[in-house]
Symmetry: C2
């Protein structure tokens, strides 16, 4: 089946807002085994919406429109689409009552303009909005379908899978019934290197498609297996996953949607371990990532961003002579920072970073991007040296990811 | 002048890559006073590129295409465009030599396939690529122009302003000669509230356009004044800026592109002040923001993420009785955290945060989003209470921004 996407709004045409809905919709449509034939953006203009929609319908079996469903004067999508097919508008009483109820509930003054959001083209079926006031609709046009949903990304993200896709399945029954998805998250290889390692895997013969999604500094793979039987799809997906694992096992950290910090959170909680962090070049970003998980206070005791040597000496007990002899950016300092923060906080583990984020501060021996990360438990301390080559912010991000990977690997081997 | 944008690539149609070029191009085009009439994305397919390009040319004076200029088999944009206008391809010898020189310089084996990147449709003018191997081109078609540049965002971001826009100006001379831009960054009001405060300002009569760019938790405004004289544009821009300042002065923190942390960095450096940070709910994010600025080690002494009560007590000297009586999330604790970290670090200033980021941990008296931020100098401590209503990550972000704004205001009033 061929799908067209039409995103509507002046804010798209003047570049004020980047259109993130199109790629979201395209990804979800692709996941169903359907094809996006054309994607287009237009401003809030009657004649334009009308003519572009007719153009899209010459290529696509269904067009998904987003945007222009608000209560204000420049929201004209519903009226424009009714006009495009010479249809009158009708008021859906249930939708109208729902909007009025919300006004009562939140003690807002009713303005008649809001009744506009209960208007739909004759023949349209309402698509409920579980997270906002603007309902969507689907309008059958000959043997094709025109969908209209709000352009607010959080609403699009709910109404597409919950409203639009089930109607598409009902209206265009597909021979391929089962699509199973598996996300695999990796860190440590460039996208090109991941691609190269997987070059010999023949995903096609397994009926599996593979997508690459770089999310700096991680690279995510999405495998989708399709088959007429669920068992076969599952079997093929497992085979493809095994092939990927065989080639990328050293850099895979997650099978599924879990973030690195969520995996660490689960492992620390399960093993009843606590952690404290001493950061230099990462500047608080390791602590920030670890505390992005709700409930992190159970295992995260404290984090110190010891930027000055005085802080490293007085709080972490790194001897001044060590810093003088080896430098604040050195394996010796990194080890003592991890051990020092662990002792100070009385935690099971201590994690540290020290390095040169740049762009200034590099030397010939220790250029910008030189980073040491160390992890200490009660028995031993491990330390790794890295040489990164990004800008300041990315050096901080990739150093943080490296430290978290070290922690994750430790927790999984333990 | 009306512009069409055509982004080309299978990765756009399957949602693997989000199209960020269209909104970038739209914004830059808008800045010139031109209008984007239509934006479209298509896959790497001869017939489709050809037909969609002809469709765009029925609306637009110029079409800007991106993507599909690489050396591999699926990069077909140049050939498809030549075909669309029945033009043969020619090899540009200078471009070919440039590519060969790069291979020699980097000691790469020459593969004949790469010569493809030196092919252009007859009649096209080459547009140099200052940051990659794929050159772009402009092709005059009757009285219109078709531009083709690479889809790699870093290359698009250079070649659009340096290559495409000057050619557009040359080919379509504009009566409006001078456009001056001013970014104004605000924090503390929703986009709708900013809009409402500015509702009465008549930017049109000043010849000034205004764009809103929300960058959570900030809202940025971009004013663009256009006039046939530079002086007049400058004068009108100043008038518009004064109107904005009169209405938004309490939430403007930057006139220009400087970030909040860069403004703070400049003020701390100029006043020779140092700072230490004690964080609870922001989890290291304040330290991370402050250390995003190169050279921050001059003023940033240390940051403590005191997640546990033990850390607040032992390192910051917050008395256990205060935490017991008022709670870790309280004005009293926030004040003592700021004072404690300042004393501990021996800095001019101490900045602190304590709150409930959520989604768990809220109570009836102190719901999720309750946050206290405090700033201490040698003479006094100020503390503010806030009630936010976002998710965990956004509560951390908005709390951090609030703490940094407090610091910035202090530094500017001092």
């Amino acid at each position: 089946m061929k799908i067209g996407i039409l995103t509507i709004g002046n804010e798209l045409m003047n570049g004020r807002t980047a259109d993130t809905n199109s790629s979201f919709i395209a990804r979800e449509i692709n996941l169903q085994g359907w094809q996006v034939e054309i994607m287009m953006s237009v401003g809030d203009d009657f004649a334009t919406i009308k003519s572009r929609l007719h153009y899209l319908l010459t290529f696509a079996d269904a067009v998904i429109c987003t945007g222009g469903l608000g209560p204000t004067a420049d929201d004209i999508t519903t009226a424009a689409i009714a006009q495009a097919f010479d249809l009158p508008l009708y008021t859906d009483q249930a939708v109208l009552q729902g909007i009025k109820d919300k006004f009562t509930k939140y003690n807002l003054r009713w303005v008649e303009n809001n009744a506009k959001q209960a208007l739909f083209p004759q023949g349209a079926e309402v698509i409920a909005n579980p997270v906002g006031t603007a309902a969507g609709f689907v309008l059958p046009v000959a043997d094709k379908l025109v969908f209209v949903i709000p352009g607010v990304p959080s609403e699009t993200h709910r109404m597409l899978p919950e409203g639009v896709i089930p109607i598409l399945h009902r209206h265009f029954p597909q021979p391929v019934e089962h699509a199973i998805k598996q996300t695999i998250k990796t860190f440590g290889l460039s996208e090109a290197a991941v691609d190269e390692r997987l070059a010999e895997v023949n995903f096609n013969t397994l009926g599996v498609s593979v997508g690459f999604y770089p999310v700096f500094p991680e690279n995510h793979l999405v495998l989708i297996a399709r088959s007429d039987s669920r068992e076969k799809a599952q079997k093929n997906l497992q085979k493809a996953q095994d092939e990927v694992t065989a080639r990328l096992h050293d850099c895979i950290f997650s099978y599924g949607e879990q973030t690195l910090e969520e995996i660490i959170a689960a492992a620390l909680t399960e093993k009843k371990l606590t952690i404290a962090v001493a950061e230099s070049c990462t500047g608080g970003l390791i602590a920030n990532r670890l505390t992005d998980v709700s409930g992190s206070s159970i295992y995260f005791e404290r984090g110190l961003t010891t930027y000055s040597n005085a802080a490293k000496i007085s709080m972490l007990g790194v001897p001044a002579e060590i810093i003088e002899k080896h430098g604040a950016v050195s394996e010796e300092t990194a080890r003592l920072m991890a051990e020092g923060v662990r002792k100070l906080a009385g935690t099971s583990l201590g994690l540290s970073s020290t390095g040169i984020a740049g762009p200034t501060g590099g030397t010939k021996e220790k250029p910008v991007g030189t980073v040491y990360v160390a992890l200490a438990d009660v028995n031993q301390t491990v330390c790794r040296h890295h040489a990164f080559r990004w800008d300041r912010k990315r050096n901080k991000q990739v150093s943080t990811e490296t430290a978290l990977m070290m922690l994750k690997n430790y927790l999984q081997e333990k």
